[in-house]
């Protein structure tokens, strides 16, 4: 996951988890099944048009509201490779890191359809359309280790094995 390149889906501030996956579909934890209803009420074309590797760019407080892990699971099911936002709601942040969906806290100017290149190791995002480059602070070591381990499940397995 050192470098990725993907197309932007642009969102605003306070994208809540009810928007990401409406509550009526919370009857499965399967990312593929959830993916078909992602952003159904606010962006009805999203689930049909999203492609593997696409990147979501939000603004403030992305993922606010319910604790439903179904939200990042739905995004993984859609093939989203990374979510970039100025700030994230905390449970969405935890859930994403725990299940291996990369998040970047960074204010990036991008419009729908722009192509971004993300260099995780060096903390750089290039908007290939505008030519502008953005720098972000890498996650704290503990969380990077969690992501590198493949998420909290693998981390927990290792801990259980060493106990």
């Amino acid at each position: 996951m050192d470098k990725i390149r993907g197309r932007v889906w642009k969102f605003g501030s306070n994208v809540d988890t009810d928007q990401i996956i409406p509550a009526e579909y919370l009857v499965t934890g399967d990312p593929k099944k959830l993916a078909g209803h992602a952003f159904e009420k606010v962006r009805p074309d999203f689930a049909k048009k999203v492609k593997k590797g696409d990147i979501i760019v939000g603004e403030e407080n992305f993922g606010c509201g319910s604790s439903r892990e179904h939200a990042p699971r739905a995004l993984i099911g859609c093939g989203i490779s990374c979510v970039i936002a100025n700030s994230f709601a905390r449970i969405f942040f935890r859930n994403s890191i725990n299940i291996g969906l990369p998040l970047i806290e960074c204010a990036v100017e991008a419009t729908e359809g722009d192509i971004l290149e993300i260099d995780f190791e060096n903390g750089r995002i290039l908007n290939t359309n505008s030519g502008r480059e953005y720098r972000f602070k890498p996650l704290p070591d503990f969380l990077l280790d969690l992501l590198k381990a493949g998420g909290i499940v693998e981390y927990t397995k290792r801990k259980l094995a060493s106990n």
């Binding site: 606010v42 407080n61 604790s67 892990e69 700030s87 905390r90 503990f142 499940v153």
Partner: protein, 422 residues
């Protein structure tokens, strides 16, 4: 120089075996309880089976509440998965439909929530137990499974903010209005990643029910926890309920808060949050032109006996407006029984309200009160996001139970004072 610790810091330090923790630090801490509901439970149980260990039985609480009684076949399968998991591992704290209620109310009534405890739950409103002086916070399903196996979890120690509310409230103003007012002031990300601590004579004079409404909605400001220092109100409530011992935790006088906010309670009116954010507030008295189709009284925010009592007082001898259906959902079996005993249920029935057993159902647009296109609901719940209670073009206005009851009578958003004098 030695700085003291806030309540959040002290609890996290104690539970991680450290003398002191600093905001921003990532720690691993022992949790007292891990709660999941029927919606967040299923993914957790699937993950748990990866570990090939026995779960920590005495820490796990399973409460089906979102889509029970089952709304359809998939939700029935989901609820069944919880029952099977509980049986497979012989878990002592599984609560069948009919014996419990909305998970947070049940966690409080059954004595899981207590001062000084660290409780996690796969539901964002787990922060409610801060009303009793606990550090409690919402988590995801996968990490709930991990905590069921390990007994601990990672936490980033939050910065703390102090909120001081002083003085007497106006008539009909409740804890709900105080927290809506604060969210309106600081915004839906005004407490992002932070712990909100509440002080002042107003909070001290509030019964536990109002304190729970306040702690419950701190997540709508983005908070990790919302904590009220425990006092006699809490200790008295816990007598005969609490499981095991507990140790109250208070902030040091030298504790550091990154921000302090002060409010004069008398300036807070009955407050309504308009669509589509809980921060979008206005006084109920200024929204009198907005007609409603539904009035909803219930939820972990405002489904307690005190909430039902004030609504019944306003509705007594009156009828729900013919253009409105009112739905009343007591938050638990205990609340339901108490309401029956006090004659409150009869008042609702006489007014033509629909009364159901406890469920989260309509609060999140699941079932039992979903809104059609263009419909508007005044609701004692906690979220008014786009499509939260149904169709994407429906609207939710958040308010306290008195405003919900008054509005149900007039058919439009109404300050309770207006009905009283009318």
């Amino acid at each position: 120089m030695y700085n003291g610790m806030t309540i959040a810091e002290k609890i996290l330090a104690k539970k991680s075996g450290k003398k002191k923790v600093e905001p921003g630090e990532i720690i691993e801490a022992e949790v007292d309880y891990i709660m999941v509901n029927d919606v967040t439970g299923l993914p957790a149980f699937e993950v748990f089976e990866n570990f090939n260990v026995a779960p920590l039985r005495d820490k796990i609480v399973l409460i089906p509440d979102h889509y029970v009684p089952n709304k359809d076949v998939p939700s029935a399968e989901q609820a069944k998965a919880m029952r099977i998991f509980a049986k497979k591992y012989n878990l002592p704290y599984y609560y069948e439909v009919g014996s419990s209620g909305v998970c947070h109310q049940h966690m409080i009534e059954k004595g899981f929530a207590a001062p000084g405890r660290l409780i996690v739950g796969a539901d964002s409103h787990t922060c409610s137990y801060g009303a009793l002086g606990a550090f409690s916070t919402g988590i995801g399903s996968t990490e709930a499974a991990c905590a069921m196996a390990l007994g601990n979890l990672w936490f980033r120690v939050p910065e703390s903010q102090k909120f001081i509310i002083e003085g007497k409230t106006r008539k009909y103003v409740m804890g709900k209005d105080v927290i809506l007012h604060i969210i309106g002031d600081i915004g839906v990300d005004g407490a992002l990643y932070k712990s909100m601590e509440f002080y002042g004579s107003t909070v001290e004079s509030f019964p536990l029910a109002d304190r729970i409404s306040i702690a419950n909605m701190t997540v709508e400001a983005g908070a990790k926890a919302g904590i009220i220092p425990p006092d006699n109100t809490v200790y008295e409530y816990l007598k005969g309920r609490v499981i095991g011992e507990y140790e109250p935790v208070f902030a040091d006088s030298t504790a550091e808060y990154i921000e302090t906010f002060s409010y004069d309670a008398i300036e807070i009116p009955c407050t309504v949050a308009k669509p589509y954010l809980p921060s979008n507030i206005a006084p109920a008295s200024e929204l009198g032109d907005i007609t409603i189709d539904q009035a909803y009284l219930g939820s972990c925010t405002n489904g307690r006996i005190e909430d039902l009592r004030i609504a019944a007082k306003i509705l007594k001898g009156k009828k729900i407006h013919p253009n409105v259906r009112m739905i009343v959902v007591p938050a638990s079996k205990e609340v339901y029984e108490q309401a029956l005993e006090e004659g409150i249920i009869k008042v609702f029935l006489d007014a033509n309200a629909y009364v159901s057993g406890p469920t989260c159902g309509a609060c999140l647009g699941g079932y039992m009160g979903v809104l059609a296109r263009g419909e508007r609901c005044i609701s004692s719940t906690n979220r008014n996001f786009i499509g939260r209670m149904g169709h994407k073009e429906s609207e939710v206005y958040l308010a306290n139970p008195a405003v919900v009851a008054a509005s149900a009578i007039t058919g439009r958003i109404t300050d309770p004072g207006e009905v009283e004098h009318g």
